[in-house]
């Protein structure tokens, strides 16, 4: 299901990056973070993962187009939030129109069967090598989500933060970002 897509010029994209940060590498990082927020926003609105990615890109395109038109935007994040609501409304309306007359509910996601679980594990190994190519990231994600420590989970994570020279909050942010990338990679891999 597609909604109207805004055109994005290279100039518009450049303006968006500049607005996010003057330093190009930090701007790319901020862009990724805003995109992650948008994907999660749509997911928490009940949007399927495949459409959430598409809607996040569309939102970023529209924000970039406004910047290119010279629209004054005070807070880019707050503005992206407003735009994402419009995009979501359009998407919901389109979905309702496309399903008009359908009495059956949307297809439920099938339960994960053992064969699929094996396939997912194979994909996870492949994706871990892609998303966390260096050993430190691999150790971080495995260490952070190893919950065998039970009640001492906080202590285990503190040790992990010390090991990598990070503050607890920075460790959490890094683990969340890595996991998000890893999950997207696994979902794409399983869908192939």
């Amino acid at each position: 299901m597609r909604i109207h897509l805004a055109d994005l010029s290279a100039e518009g994209f450049e303006k968006l990056l500049q607005r996010l940060d003057e330093d190009p590498s930090r701007a790319a990082e901020r862009y990724e973070e805003l995109r992650l927020k948008l994907v999660k926003f749509y997911g928490w609105r009940g949007c399927p993962a495949s459409s959430a990615d598409e809607l996040a890109d569309e939102t970023l395109n529209r924000v970039a187009s406004k910047l290119e038109e010279g629209v004054e935007i005070e807070s880019l994040n707050a503005y992206a939030c407003q735009v994402s609501r419009f995009v979501w409304l359009e998407f919901s309306r389109k979905r309702k129109e496309d399903h008009y007359g359908d009495e059956m509910p949307e297809q439920a996601v099938d339960p994960v069967l053992p064969e699929e679980a094996d396939e997912r594990l194979v994909c996870l190994r492949k994706c871990l090598a892609e998303v966390a190519p260096d050993d430190q990231d691999r150790q971080l994600i495995i260490g952070y989500y190893d919950t065998d420590a039970g009640g001492k989970l906080k202590d285990a994570r503190r040790s992990l933060a010390e090991k990598f020279g990070l503050k607890m909050n920075a460790l959490k942010v890094k683990a969340c970002r890595l996991r998000s990338k890893l999950e997207k990679c696994i979902n794409d891999c399983v869908a192939l």
């Binding site: 926003f41 959490k172 696994i186």
Partner: protein, 350 residues
């Protein structure tokens, strides 16, 4: 679960479970875009809930609310599957790490220079002593390895059982859903059948009404003619009817019969001399002709049925009211030329 103050955690859970009204939800959404720390708290709590659910550790209210939220957030099911995979990988890696370090734990440390000198002199021990020490060392190493293997296999077995339990739960849920679906389909079929029968019933009644109207018209004309002939005073008030008409559905025979609702109870007024019955056959009745028996007597043979616009077949017959039993069920057996028999059951009251 992550470290958050209870108020924030409660708010985040309500958001993640889709329990917030729109205005409150919008406020949380604005905050997630502008407050980075809050955004990662949301992600962290969601991941913790998913991991706990995937490991079967979610309990009570959280479990109920989480499961209720799965229909609202379809991508969460994939996240659960990913969490199960991640958990398996972590366990595998830990097992491999333990296996790699196990031989190191039981091997002797690398000797220093003076230890090597001393060892040189110890080599002068008897061969028997040396063999004994070697055997002891092998025994210790072997025992250690066996203990390690046993622990590893027990862990794997527990994990396998847990996976099996989760798989069985999923299968059970799938079966329940399939059962619900079958029941809904069956109900739909029954309703369709009832609808078809009612349609046939209505058409037969229409035809019956038409016949009654024309019969009444004929009697009125006859009466008028007699009046004129005899030039008698006007006839007395309305007479009690002497014929009662009923529509009956088969109680057994053919598809979908044996319905207790199809036992017809009829009440006969005192003056009724005969009963006019319309027997509605099921739509799937394939025979061309039918014979009708009642109380051991053949009332009709090779009778061709009437057919409604919708294709329902029906037979009409008249039986003297005195022949019906008040004490027991009256069974009229209709047998088609294809040997399929339909029983029409009547309870008669006066």
């Amino acid at each position: 679960m992550t470290e958050l103050d209870p108020k924030n955690l409660s708010e985040i859970k309500r958001f993640l479970f889709g329990e917030m009204p729109e205005s409150e939800r919008e406020a949380v959404e604005e905050r997630l875009f502008t407050d980075e720390s809050f955004f990662y708290d949301l992600m962290e709590v969601e991941n913790s809930l998913i991991d706990a659910y995937a490991r079967g550790e979610l309990r009570g209210d959280d479990l109920r609310r989480f499961e209720a939220s799965l229909d609202l957030f379809p991508e969460r099911r994939e996240k659960i599957a990913n969490s199960i995979a991640l958990n398996s990988l972590i366990k595998e890696e830990k097992r491999e790490a333990a296996a790699a370090s196990a031989p190191v734990e039981i091997s002797e440390p690398v000797p220093g220079f003076w230890e090597r000198i001393a060892a040189f002199f110890r080599l002068n021990m008897s061969v028997v002593q040396f063999a004994g020490a070697a055997a002891l060392l092998l025994l210790v190493a072997g025992t250690g390895f066996l203990i390690y293997e046993r622990v590893r296999m027990e862990r794997e077995l527990a994990e396998y059982r847990e996976n099996q339990r989760r798989f069985e739960e999923l299968q059970k849920r799938q079966e329940e859903l399939q059962k619900d679906l079958r029941e809904i389909r069956q109900r739909e079929q029954n309703l369709q059948k009832q609808l078809g029968e009612k349609q046939g019933e209505s058409e037969i009644l229409d035809q019956q009404l038409e016949r009654e109207k024309s019969e009444r018209q004929r009697l009125e004309n006859e009466l008028e003619r007699l009046k004129k002939l005899q030039q008698n005073p006007p006839p007395p008030g309305p007479r009690q009817p002497t014929i009662a008409s009923f529509l009956v559905l088969p109680f057994s025979g053919g598809k979908g019969a044996n319905d207790p609702d199809n036992i017809k109870t009829i009440r006969l007024a005192p003056g009724v001399k005969s009963v006019n019955l319309t027997l509605q056959l099921p739509k799937d009745a394939a025979a061309e002709t039918f014979s009708v028996r009642f109380k051991g007597e053949t009332l009709a043979s090779n009778r061709k049925p009437g057919t409604t616009r919708s294709g329902f077949k029906f037979l009409t017959l008249t039986i003297p009211s005195a022949r019906f039993s008040l004490a027991e069920d009256n069974v009229i057996a209709v047998t088609g030329d294809d040997e399929v028999r339909y029983n029409f059951v009547l309870k008669v009251q006066k």
